[in-house]
């Protein structure tokens, strides 16, 4: 590698990680001032554990993320199978648009339009509506991850099973899905993370009793820099990093095999 590309890498990664490092460092700051270092302290983590509304919001978020990632993994995997294994079918262009549209569509639009529909059909806002909304935008991401893996799979394995008389359902359950397992896990983890992270869509479709963690954090962040938020963020960053590294390790490991 030349020094130019090396510099580009260091500068790029430095830009991406700088703000996150700042956040983590100051979460251990004894002083509540951002630019004043008051010594090392874990007091903000203690304050976090005593913050009941924050903890209950975190619990709501975990429940939503679990259900949404489960549903999105099922739907996203089926979508990827249809797109990668079914060639041409009627409505393929529409199907593709429906699967990948939510990935790029601005969040305010998804949130507002879902809310207008929920009100139109008289569905009470709460945990269920957030789960529906999150499943909708996570499905495309799962389809991307599973689809990439499906493209890399040796199709002759599935064809061999079919030639030997296995029904399509049996081929799926005993050949395709086991081979896809790491991608399913990676897709589910990403869906979980995305759901855990969403503020905008949840703000539109949540009800009075269902405040998620990002909604709670947002209402505090708007009031200014708060070291307790730094602590919460550090925990969140740690959790997500572990999940993402695990996910990319799972995909990379199978990719080499």
């Amino acid at each position: 590698m030349s020094w130019v590309t090396r510099t580009a890498l260091v500068a790029g990664l430095g830009f991406l990680y700088g703000p996150i490092v700042v956040l983590i460092v100051y979460s251990f700051n004894a002083s509540p001032m951002v630019t004043v270092w008051g010594g090392f302290s874990t007091r903000w983590y203690g304050a976090l554990l005593a913050d009941a509304p924050l903890l209950s919001a975190a619990w709501v978020s975990l429940k939503v993320a679990f259900l949404a990632s489960l549903l999105a993994t099922i739907l996203g995997t089926l979508a990827a199978l249809a797109l990668e294994r079914q060639g041409r079918f009627r409505g393929r262009a529409l199907f593709t648009g429906l699967v990948f549209g939510p990935i790029v569509m601005p969040e305010v639009m998804i949130g507002l339009s879902l809310l207008l529909m929920f009100i139109g059909i008289g569905l009470d806002r709460g945990l269920l509506t957030i789960v529906i909304a999150h499943t909708t935008f996570c499905t495309g991401f799962v389809a991307v991850v599973v689809g990439a893996r499906l493209r890399g799979l040796d199709r002759s394995l599935e064809e061999a099973a079919a030639d030997l008389g296995a029904s399509p359902g049996r081929v799926l359950m005993t050949v395709t899905l086991p081979l896809l397992a790491p991608a399913l896990a990676a897709g589910a983890l990403l869906a979980f993370t995305l759901s855990l992270d969403d503020l905008v869509i949840a703000s539109f479709v949540s009800g009075p009793g269902s405040t998620t963690l990002p909604m709670r954090l947002y209402s505090q962040v708007r009031l200014g820099v708060n070291p307790e938020i730094n602590a919460a963020s550090t925990l969140l960053v740690g959790l997500v990093s572990v999940a993402v590294l695990l996910a990319s390790w799972l995909t990379a490991r199978r990719g080499q095999g």
């Binding site: 991406l16 630019t35 305010v108 909708t136 990439a148 995305l194 503020l199 938020i229 960053v237 993402v244």
Partner: protein
């Protein structure tokens, strides 16, 4: 003439296969039609409702069982007042222009920053590439809200950037960066950089290395190889990355709200305040349709590259 008996077996298998294929694609199709497509149709309809009737069932309702009369009654009752408001009030025009400008400028900066970074990733030793790609992805999946919030501590007048500049003796008085256009651009570039780099890296990684080698053998300098071989061949990736960033940035809410000033006008923020503060739901729906109208072009244009580029994410 085909012998009916000989074909019965394979035909039954094929038929069963087609039924199975339908069963596979039906659940995601129904789900997304119900919770992605239908809501947009409803939004479109509500944007044509009267503000005063902003409570369900949002007049006018289409009486499609009434045949032609039902349709004409529906069309006559359509109300374009919300769109006239959008056209007449400079606030919405400025917000649309603002969204296009912020997203456009940020996309250009993303191309300038993302291209060398993607190139460096593609040229890194093969065994380091999975780790380096994962390092680009981790912030992407790290709380968006928190990453934007972190910039407040850096950019504010008594923040780390001003502190560093003063320590270095470059400035005497703190610069005002937070709550300006510059802060919004920094936030957009920062949040969407992985969106730019990953599809571009996927394209650059697949380029045939012999083309670069041939250019170098013919005496081209490394920078000339980069500009005359690598960049032109990567243009589809550059376009896909810019499109992938531009589309969601147009409707961005969190970044202008946390880092921008009171005069930072973007459509996502306007929609949010029409909905949550002014409670004018039909007008908010009209703003949503305006956003859709702006992003639909890039979405159609980049439909294929969105798929191909995103396919390289973890």
């Amino acid at each position: 003439m085909r012998a009916a008996g000989a074909e019965a077996g394979p035909a039954r298998v094929r038929k069963r296969g087609r039924l199975f294929d339908r069963l596979v694609r039906l659940p995601p199709f129904l789900w997304l039609a119900a919770f992605f497509l239908l809501p947009f149709v409803i939004t479109l309809k509500i944007s044509l409702s009267e503000p005063a009737t902003a409570i369900p069932p949002y007049l006018p309702l289409l009486d499609w069982r009434g045949g032609l009369d039902g349709w004409s009654a529906f069309l006559e009752a359509l109300n374009f007042d919300n769109y006239l408001t959008l056209a007449a009030d400079p606030l919405y025009r400025d917000a649309a222009l603002g969204s296009l400008t912020y997203a456009g400028v940020a996309s250009l900066i993303l191309v300038a920053l993302g291209t060398p970074l993607a190139y460096a990733l593609a040229r890194a030793p093969a065994r380091w590439q999975p780790l380096l790609v994962a390092l680009v992805i981790v912030p992407f999946w790290t709380s968006f809200l928190i990453r934007i919030y972190a910039w407040i501590a850096i950019l504010k007048p008594e923040g780390l950037l001003n502190l560093a500049l003063r320590r270095l003796g470059l400035i005497d008085a703190p610069l005002t960066i937070l709550n300006t256009d510059a802060a919004v651009i920094v936030g957009l570039v920062y949040a969407y950089l992985p969106f730019m780099v990953l599809p571009l890296y996927a394209v650059m990684n697949r380029l045939d290395p012999t083309l670069r080698e041939a250019a170098a053998d013919l005496g081209a300098s490394p920078s000339r190889v980069f500009w005359t071989v690598t960049v032109p061949l990567s243009l589809p990736g550059i376009a896909a990355g810019a499109g992938l960033c531009f589309i969601p940035m147009v409707g961005e809410f969190v970044i202008p709200d946390l880092l921008g000033g009171s005069e930072t006008l973007m459509l996502g923020r306007v929609l949010w305040s029409e909905f949550f503060s002014n409670r004018d739901w039909p007008l908010a729906a009209a703003v949503a349709v305006l956003i859709l109208a702006i992003v639909i072009g890039p979405v159609v244009l980049f439909r294929d590259s969105l798929r191909a580029g995103e396919g390289e994410a973890p």
